[in-house]
């Protein structure tokens, strides 16, 4: 780790003010990606702005009407174990319970995960499939606009996620095929149906990060049943290849995970 200046802030406003003054400052939420990267000297921010003292304001789960509001500093453990989330969007609670290991789930936050947009992270697929809205200290961004590429988002310098609002779907499920080594998603498919609208988001597979699987969405919009996916397959083009999985295998797994997710969402 290189030397850096450490700031603690108790509000999003103070965090944003500090960020404006420190060009290469980084926000520190759970630190589950940032701190290991800094320890390996692969990242060297001049300053860290620790958001943890702002947890009281930035963490928490609330159901308002047909939406679930989750504060940016809410830990994965709290999402996984929230009665409200389990009732409203059980697939989201289950997803949070599959992230990392217990230590990671007690430290890592939803805002940190979404802002980092790791191509193998779980939350981005939920945001995209559930058509979530990402609230920042400056504006509201739809998930479709938010994830722009590998570790890239629509966030501007100094912009900070404050909460994420998930519309409650009529049916949803997440199926994850973990990378055997890291247990990140090698392929994760989140399927959600709200009214007539069906959205299918894929994480772990795409070489530009999370994406929507249009062919699957079209088939499932016609009929939200696993039979609708017969003959529907994902293209290997644009998918990652590495020592754990080549693009063809990832494409195949997208189909398998999508079918399993649909069955699960239908209670099968």
């Amino acid at each position: 780790m290189y030397q850096f200046t450490y700031h603690r802030v108790d509000s999003a406003r103070k965090a944003a003010n500090l960020a404006e003054k420190n060009e290469d400052a980084k926000f520190l939420a759970g630190g589950m990606t940032l701190l290991p990267t800094m320890k390996q000297r692969l990242a060297s921010p001049s300053a860290l702005i620790d958001l943890n003292p702002a947890s009281e304001k930035l963490a928490g789960i609330e159901v308002k009407g047909r939406n679930v509001h989750i504060g940016a500093m809410t830990r994965h453990y709290d999402v996984a174990n929230s009665k409200d989330v389990q009732e409203a969007i059980p697939a989201l609670a289950e997803l949070a319970g599959m992230i990392g290991d217990p230590a990671v789930r007690h430290r890592g936050t939803i805002g940190g995960s979404v802002a980092n947009n790791d191509p193998a992270a779980d939350y981005p697929s939920a945001c995209l499939a559930l058509n979530a809205t990402i609230h920042t200290n400056k504006r509201k961004i739809s998930a479709d606009e938010f994830f722009t590429g590998l570790f890239e988002t629509a966030l501007e310098p100094g912009e900070l996620i404050t909460k994420i609002v998930f519309p409650v779907p009529s049916k949803a499920a997440y199926m994850k095929f973990p990378n055997p080594a890291s247990r990140y998603a090698m392929v994760g498919v989140f399927v959600a149906k709200k009214g007539k609208d069906v959205r299918v988001a894929v994480t772990g597979a795409g070489s530009s990060g999370v994406f929507r699987a249009g062919k699957f969405e079209a088939a499932l919009t016609a009929k939200f049943h696993v039979k609708a996916l017969e003959g529907v397959s994902a293209s290997a083009e644009g998918l990652n290849s590495d020592i754990h999985a080549d693009a063809a295998y990832r494409a195949h797994l997208i189909g398998v995970m999508a079918r399993r997710a649909v069955n699960k969402a239908n209670g099968k």
Binding site: A181, S182, I243, D246, Y249, H252, V256
Partner: protein, 788 residues
Amino acid sequence: MSATGLGASVRRKEDLRFITGRGQYTDDINRPGQAYAYFLRSPHAHAEIKSLDTKAARKADGVLAVLTGDDIAADKVGGLICGWMIHSKDGSPMKAGAHPALAQGKVRYVGDHVAVVIAETLAQARDASEKIKVDYKVLPAVVDMNDAVKKGAPVIHDVSDNNTVYNWHLGDKAATDAAFAKAKHVTKLDLVNNRLVPNAMEPRAAVGDYEPGTESFTLYTTSQNPHVARLVLSAFIGIAPEHKLRVIAPDVGGGFGSKIFIYAEETVCVWAAKKVGRPVKWTADRSEAFLSDAHGRDHLTHAELALDEKGKMIGLRVNTKANLGAYLSTFSSSVPTYLYAPLLSGQYDIPAIYAEVDGIYTNTAPVDAYRGAGRPEATFVVERLVEIAARETGADPAQFRLKNFIRTFPHQTPVIMAYDVGNYQAALEKALEMADYRNIGKRKAASAREGKLRGIGFSAYIEACGIAPSAAVGSLGAGVGLWESAEVRVNPIGTVEVLTGSHSHGQGHETTFAQLVSDRLGIPIDNVSIVHGDTDKVQMGMGTYGSRSGAVGMSAIFKALDKVIAKGKKVAAYCLEAAADDIDFKDGKFSVKGTDKEIDFGSVALQAYIAHKFSGQDLEPGLKEGAFWDPTNFTFPAGVHICELEIDPETGTTRIDHWTAVDDFGRVINPMIVEGQVHGGIGQGVGQALCEGAHYDKSGQLVTASFNDYCMPRADDLPSYNVGMTQTPCPSNPLGIKGCGEAGAIAAPPAVINAITDAVGHENVAMPATPLAVWRAAQKAVMKKAAE
């Protein structure tokens, strides 16, 4: 059997400190005035160092010294050694390239040691290392063994122009060729034994200390064999004569072989301590461990098995290329030769065997012994071949093995080993029963109804443990003798300290060795302490590896206890006013034969030190005896493991459903600890079979350099184990022990792969059988079935 004696599942005495966080590991040791070392490592797999400018680094904050290969050469510090001479077929000695502790003009793998910075803090040392300017001339690298031996391949060491360390062979080629000439069936197989990273939980560490007042060094280090470390650092590397060099290996958090060897880092720390006049500490981080711990396995093998018309094995031919990495590590040369080929007969009566092994240099980390060391590689070859031969000839794999097992002992194999005792069919029959083999068909059908593929795989392994006697290993090229020592010190109140040359780093010696003492002396186990890992306390020892601590280390204690009892009888004779020959010793009491006169062990100990009763007579005061034990043969643990698993053909996911292990370890001292060793061994073996694989890219970068990409087995990858035992006591040591530390890691890989290939319809699946690999094989099987 008493509650703490031989054969009792005594809870581990050492666990109190380990589970309460009170272990004392090398990194827990801090010396007054201690400075920190950071090694600048090569980012290139193969490069010439054209120049090395340390000026700016030396001026950086907190820096005490920046040392390079030139400094180590100027101080005449010797290079690291390989202690086992192997001769090629043509009689020429192996080609060992120089192995300096800090690079001298050239680096040969990513992670090779370029320079060391010693500073007040680790962060300062690391910061300063970034100021060292190295002008590399990058050379082409070679990581693949087949490429390394091709004409025109980059030459890694000048001593070998084709990157070959040796072309070694064992067995009778003519007899084997003759067997193949008359064979009715020949099974052929190409196998890869995947390269593994040891990943002990505690990374390697060292603290070097120098005391100018006595001109003596102390090295605290993560070692499985501190005395061998001292011997090498003293006699070969030349740090200091042995009486001026103390090596302490305190609690060590796992070794699996990787901490047998003498590495550059501890050499540099102890040398630099005198150079900078401060104690010097280094602790590997996990990334350094991946790059610089000696790796394991890494063989390419072609093997052929010849059968006669009755399905009896008549010949075995094996050709192996063994990757030794960029330098020869301490025992690397012996692992793919004498620890490998002599086990190729397995549990089978094979009259003719011929093996050829080429040791190859590549631009990768050195490869040396890793749990099982050569025996897992041999067992993988034999048990994969045997399984496929059974399938090809339409035989049941269990019956095929039973038909070919060695039935009479002793049995001389055509490849050196003389198996002393065993009962292989008893283990297989018990395992078949425990695994409910007769109903496997029903279980396969049930899986098929769920769209799953179920398979069952056997592994009838044998290994050679103890890595002794000295005469035998000496005749095969070992530079050392491989006996063990023990000293039993009885205190005046009858408590006992045992000093042993074995080293415990997870094996539970503090418990099992104390059980032996408690049993033989009839004293409470809490009255016994086991002392190890310090060359100032224990005079000499050969350390712990090759499952040798029970068979060899405990035998030395046994012999020393014999002497203690003999001396105790003499003391008791004076106390009881009888002749020493008339004294019996049983259950902690010395008694005069045929009388009720007796004295307990504690009182004899006290009398031995008071000496009032025999002062001036022909008996020395005190009660302390030492012994060295050098056995007459290796020991031969053997057994049968059966893996039953289910594959999801849609995803390639493998789930191990049942694991049956029936092992013959000879006499068992502590069944709980033995079962733990079996569990851990299987875990590592399953890891090799399903998960682990070190992968270098073509340029020599280690792609699997962290747990993000190097897949370790986890609890949810492993089943509950069904462990059984058979026992044929070993005749070559007084306790009848064979050794259990490596069995699981040896047995497991072929059991898993045999089960996977059974499930997917005999497609040859390479290790690690990752979901991707299994999915591909399952797809082929599904397509083949559809075509039928």
